[in-house]
Every structure is written in structure tokens, then in C-alpha cells.
Symmetry: C2
Subunit: 323 residues, 2 copies
């Protein structure tokens, strides 16, 4: 049964390999460094050769694979869902934070810090089955536009990074997302957007329960965050779930620092990549002072650790997949 799909995959790989694998990357040093690394770990004659089962690559999502300004896209979803739920039952807006969220008042919610974000996520994301929740996410993605660009949120994925993911997979890498975003949220679009299946998506998750409801076994999303997949949590989650140290890691903020440090401090060839948001014209320009995706540690220490700092304005000929 397995033979024909495998043969077909082989032919497909051969065709792709002949074409330029990274057409949306300019001919800069960034692109050269990526290609040189990939060639060195996949060439059996190279001293840096890495066996395919160890070619693990991990990617942050928000700000690394798709945009994250003016706020994480999942927050827009939470606001919209909350407004919808409140239309049926206004009493769920039991605090000023929740009222602000349902009105789409981003500024007020962000002022409340992490506590406010957790409150919004709890109120909007719990009490549903995982299936119901994911149907909501799907419908929302189909119906919603980004407030500034007017694009669908899942068109605001970065074309150069989508190409990088595909290139790595074509070269025998297994690609993972390791993100502060929610697992159930990301799994709705990640396979189509990035070619990454549900079992290769690590992220933040809430509590959940297993209940047999009217005879139907159901996983229900419960209040409370069980694990925050950010900062040191990213390295811990990689150890828990993947159980191997990656050889390639990509991020864009200091929330990714530990993941890149953990990855690149392993023995043998390693690659760390930071997407630096330098492009105010085509996207957003932000780093040290941003309230979302703050990047300081990575800029200060990354180059000495050998990490590639991708200059979005200079290194990418195209930004979004959707335009």
C-alpha cells in the first residue's frame, strides 16, 4: 500500500529540487547561509552530515511565520468570539477587561498585561468542545480581515518562511511549530498554510477534560491555562514532546531566545535564525520597544552565538503569501 505514494513523493521531490527552493529570498548572505547549512547537513560526504531522523527544525509562529501586529491574531479571534457570545448572553462580560475585549478595544486589554489576556482567553475559549472551538476558528478565519491590511489573517503568512519550511522538508527535515499561540487555534490552519500537520504543532494549551456527554466521548476546553509555551517553556516543551534537540530553530522575539539557545548549544552543526522586523513599508518595523514581539536579547547576543539575523526589508523580495 505504501509503495506508490512514496514513489510519487520521490518524483515530486526531484522536480522541486530542480527549481529554486527559495524564490522569495533575495540573493543576500542570509539566503546563502541557509542553503550552505542545509547542503552541509544533507550531503553524506560532508563532515557535518546529519542523519534524517535528527533533522528536526522548530519554528515560532507569531512574527516568525505570520504577522503579529498590532496584536496576536488569536486575540482578534478571542475578541470577536467574545462579542458573539455576549450577544447571546451579555452577563458573560463580567469585568471591564471583558467589556473592552468584546468592543474590540485593544489598547485597554493590552494595558491589563498577561492577566487580562488570560481572562479574555478563559472567557472566550473555554466551555466548548475542541471540535466546536475549531469550527469557530475556521469560520472566523474565512470571514475576518486584518484591521490594517484588509487581508485574510491566514494570507498574512510570510511567503519566504513558507518556502523555507518546504525546502527543509524536501531535504528530509521534520518541521515543527513551537509557539506561544494556542494548539487548538493553530491546528486549524497550519497544515494548509505551512504544510505542518497537527502532531507537529506545539503551543500553549489550556486545561481540558474528557467527558462522556449524552453517550458521546468529548474533549472539553476548561478554564485555566495549563502550560505557556513561551521563553524557557519552549525548550521544556521541546524536550517533553519531541524528546530530541532540534538542529534548526527560527524565531523573532526574546520569547524565542531559550529555544534558539537550547537548539544551537547542542553538539554538531546547528542553525539559529531570527526574523528581524525592519520593513515599515511592507510590514511593520519593531524590535526593542515593541509591546508585542519585543526583541533585544536576540539582537544583542544572537550574532555572537552565530545566529542569522534576517533583515526582512533587505533579505525578502516578497513578504506575504497572500499578495
Amino acid at each position: 500500500m505504501l509503495r506508490f505514494p512514496l514513489l510519487a513523493a520521490g518524483v515530486l521531490t526531484a522536480n522541486l529540487a530542480a527549481a529554486d527552493p527559495l524564490p522569495s529570498w533575495n540573493e543576500t548572505q542570509a539566503r546563502d547561509r541557509i542553503v550552505t547549512f542545509v547542503e552541509s547537513v544533507t550531503d553524506p560526504e560532508s563532515p557535518d552530515y546529519v542523519t534524517p531522523s535528527d533533522r528536526i527544525a522548530v519554528f515560532d509562529n507569531d512574527g516568525t511565520l505570520w504577522a503579529e501586529q498590532p496584536a496576536y491574531f488569536q486575540l482578534f479571534f478571542a475578541f470577536d468570539l467574545l462579542a458573539e457570545l455576549a450577544a447571546e448572553d451579555p452577563s458573560i462580560l463580567s469585568s471591564d477587561t471583558l467589556k473592552a475585549a468584546a468592543e474590540g478595544d485593544l489598547e485597554t486589554v493590552l494595558k491589563g498585561g498577561e492577566e487580562a489576556l488570560i481572562e479574555v482567553v478563559n472567557a472566550s475559549h473555554s466551555g466548548q468542545s475542541v471540535d466546536e472551538f475549531q469550527t469557530d476558528v475556521e469560520e472566523w478565519l474565512d470571514a475576518s480581515q486584518h484591521p490594517d491590511t484588509g487581508m485574510a489573517f491566514d494570507e498574512m503568512t510570510y511567503q519566504p518562511m513558507v518556502e523555507l519550511l518546504r525546502y527543509l522538508r524536501d531535504e528530509g527535515f521534520k518541521t515543527y511549530i513551537v509557539s506561544g499561540g494556542g494548539i487548538h487555534f493553530m491546528r486549524v490552519f497550519a497544515e494548509q498554510a505551512y504544510g505542518i500537520p497537527p502532531e507537529q504543532i506545539l503551543g500553549t494549551y489550556g486545561n481540558s477534560t474528557y467527558d462522556v456527554i449524552d453517550g458521546v466521548p468529548t474533549i472539553v476546553k476548561a478554564p485555566g491555562i495549563a502550560f505557556v509555551d513561551d521563553k524557557e517553556g519552549k525548550a521544556i516543551n521541546i524536550d517533553r514532546i519531541i524528546g530530541k534537540r532540534p538542529i534548526f530553530a527560527a524565531g523573532n522575539s526574546d520569547g524565542d531566545f531559550a529555544m534558539l539557545e537550547w537548539t544551537t548549544s547542542g553538539q554538531g552543526p546547528r542553525f539559529g535564525l531570527i526574523v528581524h522586523h525592519t520593513d515599515a513599508e511592507r510590514e511593520w518595523a519593531y524590535d526593542r520597544d515593541s509591546h508585542i514581539g519585543r526583541l533585544a536579547n536576540g539582537l544583542d547576543k544572537g550574532p555572537d552565538m552565530g545566529w542569522l539575523i534576517v533583515d526582512m526589508a533587505k533579505d525578502w523580495s516578497r513578504v506575504y503569501t497572500g499578495r
Copy 2:
């Protein structure tokens, strides 16, 4: 790079398919039901055909893939490790439970219930880096014998189940362990014993920290159990980590009930399998009254739910991989 391995895998699959995939299974109904199911979900002409990416199979470990009597093998490891640690620093045996454990007094520890087990695991499994811990497990597996059989613990894997895992993979399934055992413990031997790589092993895990120690980033095992992968926890962990409902689940105790129920209540073709320990001569015979691997719910409700109850004495021509 990918083409030749893929072609080789195709050829290998064709050769294996010609041989009997389940030589250690007798020609009974159990074997027939497994083969009929696998053929129906892999034949593109079948109404029950399942696309390869959805062919997820989950297996409990203790009592399903290897033996678990007179106690979980990981407990023997914890006892031995504790005795070794106490030889250097006797003060760590700060309770009667820990003293009993270091003396290998299984009965006393088991009398203390789950609390005692957690105390033993905390005292023996924490304070080390994951790397150090796994080196300990490896050395212990090489040096230790089962108290009753005298076999190495990792020779007490079940040959028929090892064949079943390989058969499923050859037919395009992705095989996972979903076990109450510890992830760091199981990952040491599971790839060699079962062909299951680290990233397909779900289990119980303790707290851990990410620390840079003398300049070296390290994952350290900390006291406290973070997640118990048993009962409802198995279904919850499958949802969290795999993110898809399996179509095949195998277990042996009521700790696996929720996992089998969750798996087989999905739409389309599903398979639930329970290993029933009926073979006092070649292994152990136990079910409803066992302190380890208790099986009552599964025997009472499993058949009506369409689950296959494997009669070890009758359905298996050979038990252990090691003899």
C-alpha cells in the same frame, strides 16, 4: 537527498508484505480481525479506506508492549537508583517509604499507594539533567535482570506486539506509545525495542526547568509530577500532543479504557484491542483483582464496544521477544 531513501523504503515494504507479517500470532480469530481491519483501511477501493495521514495507532506500554509484573519495571529502576544514591548520601532516605524502596521492599511501597510511588519517583528521578538521567536508565537496562525471569527487562517485550507495530507501520500507520510510564525513561529503549522514535512517545512527565549551568543550557528534572498520562489523561494527552483522534488503540488495563473509548467512538472504521493476561505459564494471569494492570471495565464493556480481547494464552504462539 530524499529520493533514494524513499525508493529504498518502497522496495523494503514490498518485500515485507510478501512474508507473514504476524508470525507470532496463532491462526485464530484475533489475528484475522486485525488483518481484516488493516486491509480494509489501506485498500483504496474499500469503503473503509483511510488516508495515510489519518492512520494513527496508539499503544499503552506496561502490560501491552512489555510485561508489568510483579510491578512496573520503572519502579525497579527507581528502587535501584535510590539505593545507589543512598550509598553516597544515606540522608536522602528520609522516610520509611524511601527506606523500603532502597531495600527493594516492593510490598511496603505498593501498600503506600500512589502517594508512595510519587515519593519514590521524586526522590530518585529529580535533581538530574535529562541527559544524566537517561544515561542512568541505559546503564541500568544493560546491567539488570527481572527478579522472576532473570531476563533483561527490555527482552520482556511482547514479540506479537512488536510484530503488530511493524505491520501497522509497513501499512502506512504512524505508531505512538501513550503510557503511564515516564517519557524520559521510555525514550531510552523504545526506538530499539519497538521502532518508535522519541517524538512518538507520550507518557507521564515531571516538572522540569531550563537552566544555563556553567554556560551550558540544560533541562533539569525537578520534583513533582506535572502530568499523569493515565485514564482520562490519555485521551487528553492525545488531543494535546497528537491533535487527531487515532483509528487504532491497544491497551491492557482499565487505565486504557478512556483511550480506547475515545479512539473507537470516532466516525469511520476504528479498532480497539485489549491484551488479556491469561497465560500463567508463559507470563502471568491476572485481570479484575490485580494490584497492577487491573482490568474489569474493559472485560465487561469492551466486547459490546467491538473491541478485540486478545487471549494471550490462546492467540500468541510466542510471548517474549527475548526468548
